[in-house]
């Protein structure tokens, strides 16, 4: 027959270094404390978090030797859990968390604009193919295209750097695009996601 050791004795043993005493205490009160937390927060994951935070406080208090045995262990732990539940609701009222339901999914109106992995790979492939195509252009056209598209320079800046008129720079850009389209059409290259 299992002898039920009193909580206060287990606490004393734990403070004196017996880690198994803590295991007994947690297992003994796990259901009552977890159910209490769950009855307030109605969420399994939040219950786990608050249960964990509660016992972290318990462990720290016991190890620091600041636990006073004025009351009983369980009511003390319940009080810690209760305060953490209040903290949880306060935090949630400052930063409300929206959870979807069966009828409404928040992701139907909120979207992440980032590409998924597959689309990112395709985009990288297209970028690399486009670079190869640009390399096929005559040097002067390639130069203008790089400055305009990749360096986002104005045609005035391009003309100053390359030492040609704005009209020439515009013309080179025009021919660069025409020639790129020609190469793409000729080789039936598809450059879309």
């Amino acid at each position: 027959m299992e002898v039920l050791i009193d909580d206060s004795l287990l606490i004393r043993n734990y403070i004196n270094g017996d880690e198994r005493a803590l295991e007994t205490l947690i297992n003994r009160h796990n259901q009552r404390i977890s159910s209490f937390i769950y009855s307030k927060v109605n969420n399994r994951d939040t219950t786990e978090d608050i249960f964990q935070d509660t016992f972290i406080k318990v462990i720290r208090t016991l190890k620091r030797g600041t636990y006073s045995e004025e009351g009983k262990f369980l009511p003390w732990v319940m009080r810690i859990a209760h305060n953490l539940i209040i903290d949880h609701f306060r935090k949630n009222s400052r930063m409300p968390m929206f959870e979807g339901s069966d009828h409404f999914n928040i992701f139907s109106i909120v979207r992440d604009d980032k590409l998924n992995v597959e689309r990112q790979i395709i985009k990288d492939q297209i970028d690399s193919d486009l670079n190869l195509l640009i390399e096929e252009l005559p040097r002067d056209q390639r130069q203008v295209l790089y400055m305009r598209i990749y360096k986002d320079m104005s045609f005035k800046e391009i003309s100053e750097i390359t030492g040609v008129s704005i009209n020439t720079a515009l013309g080179r850009m025009r021919y660069a695009l025409i020639n790129l389209r020609k190469i793409i059409d000729k080789h039936n290259i598809v450059l879309t996601i």
Partner: protein, 47 residues
Amino acid sequence: MENIYTKNQKDCKLIKSKPETVKFLLDYSKSLKITEAKGIKFESNLN
């Protein structure tokens, strides 16, 4: 008459925290060391 009963009575069920949570707490406890110097208590986690 005002309805004073909670809507979530069905949610009042008995549950237990997961064994992983309990294990984490026991490991945390084993790793936590308190050292006292000049009346100040220092916490350290020795993993």
